[in-house]
Symmetry: C2
Subunit: 164 residues, 2 copies
DNA sequence: TAAATGGTTTGTCTTACGCAAATGACTTGT
DNA sequence: ACAAGTCATTTGCGTAAGACAAACCATTTA
């Protein structure tokens, strides 16, 4: 791609608008998540566990792009409400395998039900098709670093770029 | 839409993945923006001013979804580097009209040049077409609340939902 | 057995907010 | 003309979400 002419460069950068839209959604999300005892960072974690399955803490921290000590606190929140469970890995007892519980899956479903109204509002300018398209793109874009948090909680390669 | 059957409901919610991806992009963005003396919040502001033109502070705060006192600080940063300028509105001298300067536009272009590499990396799973598609969706989704920050810095209707 | 690893706790610091109060300049209403 | 309202500003306080460091325990590897 480096050899392609400039014309093939994407003319538009997503970074600013991604941040911009994300903030909007997040602010509104907070109001509906709070009654469920959840914050956006909880929501993201539950979503990742649901979509990608169980994971070691190290891999999860890498996927979420947060410091492992902060992940501990985050998981403590979730575990306190039985939304996740930590079990020692049979392959290496130093490790925890983190799983979404049934309670957690139900809570996530509740959260998403509440979030539907938020998205109806904040993403009002998009048709349902466009929203599905957006989801699909987001899913694809975030799936990449799936490599870092390989399926299951088995040996993973070194995690890629840490993200905030 | 409320009368439509459940089948017409979007099956996927974007909130979590939007937050997730946005974080990733933002973290990487910070490293390339820092040498330019910019932070993501600066980038978003400059982008909004470029895309939507001049605006009163009140309207800008509404569009960005941040508290007016925080906007003052943000604008102070930008004005200090001559990236924006504040001029008293001729219609109402209590108001400032905020404009992107030429220096600001150049700085934004530099930032976007730097961000291209970031997006090449973080959005590697998307084709160029998909990235353009993502931009288009983001642009459309965020344009809605354009109504709040009507063209120019003239009278605006009450701003919609404040966002974070 | 020593060194390395995964997770945990604790502490410190930074950043980005929301919110409140007070202020000065300006506009609107009486 | 004066009071009330409005816009932006400064200051202060508090919260949340991180990064990073150090120390520790349990476990695994060299």
């Amino acid at each position: 791609m480096a050899s392609l002419p400039v014309l093939n460069q994407p003319p538009h950068l997503c970074a600013a608008l991604l941040d911009h839209l994300s903030r909007r959604v997040r602010t509104r999300s907070e109001t509906v998540l709070a009654p469920l005892g959840l914050r956006p960072r909880h929501l993201v974690t539950l979503t990742v566990l649901r979509d990608h399955g169980s994971s070691t803490q190290q891999a999860l921290a890498a996927r979420l792009g947060i410091d492992s000590t902060n992940l501990v606190g985050l998981l403590n929140d979730l575990e306190a409400d039985n939304l996740i469970e930590r079990r020692r890995s049979p392959e290496d007892r130093r490790r925890h395998v983190v799983d979404l519980t049934d309670v957690g899956a139900k809570k996530l479903a509740k959260a998403e039900f509440a979030l539907a109204a938020v998205e109806d509002e904040v993403l009002a300018a998009l048709t349902l098709e466009q929203r599905e398209q957006l989801y699909s793109l987001l899913q694809q874009a975030t799936a990449t670093t799936d490599i870092a948090a390989c399926a299951g909680a088995e040996d993973e390669p070194a995690p890629p770029v840490m993200y905030r």
